[in-house]
Symmetry: C2
């Protein structure tokens, strides 16, 4: 359990500077004002959830390669599998994740299914990510 619930702070049950929660041996909130300030500007929970899901999509090597590829070319599953050197099945599973995240869309053409980006932000996210890694090392 956390040292002190935010609700306690907001409701005033937490005293400024030294607020103790029960007899737990956990730490006390030192800067209630700072916590309150941050909390005031924190995006709502659904937005945070959506953001976490978005970044999670970029947080796996296979998906990252797929997303990058689709910033350059519309590709069928088969092409993608060859590109990332991974089984068709693995790629299909990951494409499902990306579809779920609304990052890619697809069009059937004969036996093939062509995937492309469904989100303008993907390219921009890549740019920043690249700038980051180039800057960092």
């Amino acid at each position: 359990m956390a040292g002190l619930k935010i609700e306690d702070i907001e409701s005033g049950r937490a005293l400024p500077e030294r607020s103790v929660e029960g007899d737990s041996c956990e730490c006390r909130v030192v800067h209630v004002d700072a916590v309150r300030k941050v909390r005031a500007s924190m995006p709502a929970e659904p937005a945070m959830d959506a953001m976490a899901e978005l970044f999670k999509s970029f947080g796996d090597g296979t998906r990252l390669h797929i997303l990058y590829a689709l910033t350059k070319e519309r590709m069928c599953v088969c092409d993608i599998a060859a590109l990332v050197n991974m089984s068709q099945s693995a790629v299909s599973h990951q494409l499902r994740v990306l579809r779920g995240a609304r990052l890619v869309k697809y069009e059937k053409e004969g036996k093939s299914v062509y995937y492309s980006l469904d989100d303008d932000h993907v390219k921009k996210i890549f740019e920043i990510g690249l700038a980051h890694v180039k800057h960092t090392r």
Copy 2:
């Protein structure tokens, strides 16, 4: 196993349009040219790894909250734990992850340890993430 290794394509072992890998029942590469083109512009593997690690840091709710908080305020562990309503231990563990990703830095002050951002890109990544979720829904 993948349908066709990229090396096979690059080396010319893969024929344009209909290249079969052994007698596997996996799909064939349809667009060798597209695969080659994408591959040519794909960031090097270390960069991709670093990017995946970067985005992974943003891909968890607790860490996302922590990172956002630190874009607004320098905070001690105790403050953060109260803010995200999570145990001091859980927060400490996640801070270690963020330290490992070089996203945060810390300064000891007495018994407390104050964390702050160690990366200029964090704010920008947040902005894009927010723009994304606002646009998407």
